[in-house]
Amino acid sequence: MVCGGAVDRILLLAVAVSMAYFILLSLPAVIVFGATPSPSFFWIVASTATYATVSSLIVLPISFILGFALAFRASGSYIMPLILFSTAIPHTALGVLLAPTVFSLKITDTAAAVVLGMFVVSLPIGVGVMRASFAAQGVELEEFLRSMGVRGVRLQWFYLRASPTSVILAALLSWFRAFSELGVFLIVAQRPQTVGIYIFEEFLKNGPTAVVSASLVLLAVAIVLTLVAVMLERARNP
């Protein structure tokens, strides 16, 4: 929270606003439905986080390579929408599009289907963040390095060194996108249970009271992760 020797006031303000926002969102649900914690929920959070981590570990290197390839080529502007399309349609529809692959691989309702679903929904986030980060560094850097005889993996290594916060940001955002997925799993992987599926099913079975505490935990996690993302962004562009 220290920026240039002084306390980062904008970050402090962001924390205060986030806490107020959390209270504002959570209070009505707690007052109306109450909050009863479920012992199985934390186990499901842990397993969902594990799947999201596996997915992000696959997403990250692919995002790096694709983001780099698309950042400085005119064709990048045409190819990006093909990658981003999955963010623009309901994820249940994405699940339907993914279903033939999952069915043919006979991985329906398996951990593999969960990771595949997470991969498909979080890849566009990773690629988008990496591409934007590379593009912001300018084509001049690439031109200079190539003219100096730097090529291939070495070239990407220079960009990696120049943008560590972007890599962390891409990992963070793609992880949380994977963690919070529901729509795809409703179609291809309702088991093993993930957080989204758990809340959906508990709500249908036992009503809102059963899932208020779970939702609040997720909200808190999301706010903390968003604050970390803001800190990283400010570190990158102070």
Binding site: S147, M148, A162
Partner: protein, 221 residues
């Protein structure tokens, strides 16, 4: 010597045509915004593929060589900063090209850069030029290296450029820069080379340049 022969670059309805341009020492490519100066430099470096034409360096046709293999140094427009200390940067490129940065840095009088971690814009440009020289390029291409630099930084960069012995094709839109460093001035207009002229005014402009240096003159009053 760097030679550009019958070069044609086509971008939609816009064309750049250079029948012959020879760079023997310091040639300044002077032209207004949009004249095609940067495009020409990128084509010589291999960053843009021309429709036709040849790039010849010291008698060797390098037109088909990849960017990474061309024996040229290139300073792009804007200041390039790598995420490493100046010393690490020089050491890295020294190793890559099998050269030693210490004599070069000493020759250029840039020892101070080695002791720093964060460089000003002008210092970064000096470091970029020193880095390019580690490649032992047979010719240098410089795309407005003084753009965005303040007067004092501009002076540092121009003095360094003046001291180099490698043939240089130096792009600028600034006539004063052109007059200060050029042996020859090539005028580019609307994608056409209007002519290459000897710089008859260089010594006079260099003398007058001190008159413009208010920072120094006012300090000594």
């Amino acid at each position: 010597m760097l030679e550009i022969r019958n070069l044609v670059i086509v971008r939609g309805s816009w064309r750049l045509e250079i029948e012959l341009l020879r760079v023997r020492s310091k040639t300044v490519l002077l032209g207004r915004n949009g004249a095609g100066k940067s495009t020409l430099l990128k084509a010589i470096m291999g960053l843009i593929r021309p429709a036709e034409g040849k790039i010849v360096v010291n008698g060797r046709d390098i037109s088909d060589l990849a960017v990474e293999d061309r024996p040229l140094g290139y300073i792009p427009q804007g200041v390039v900063r790598l995420a490493m200390t100046p010393r690490d940067q020089l050491e890295y490129f020294s190793k890559l090209h099998g050269t030693d940065y210490k004599p070069l840095i000493s020759k250029l009088g840039l020892e101070d850069l080695l002791r720093k971690r964060n460089l000003s814009v002008g210092e970064s440009q000096l470091l970029a030029i020193a880095t390019v020289l580690l490649k032992n390029p047979e010719a240098l291409l410089m795309d407005e290296p003084c753009a965005n630099l303040d007067w004092l930084n501009k002076k540092l960069v121009l003095n360094l450029v003046k001291s180099l012995e490698t043939p240089i094709l130096y792009v600028t839109h600034d006539p004063l820069e052109a007059l200060l460093i050029a042996d020859e001035i090539a005028l580019l207009e609307d994608g056409r080379l209007r002519g290459v002229y000897p710089n008859e005014w260089r010594e006079k402009v260099r003398r007058d340049f001190e008159l413009y240096d208010l920072y120094e003159r006012l300090k000594t009053r």
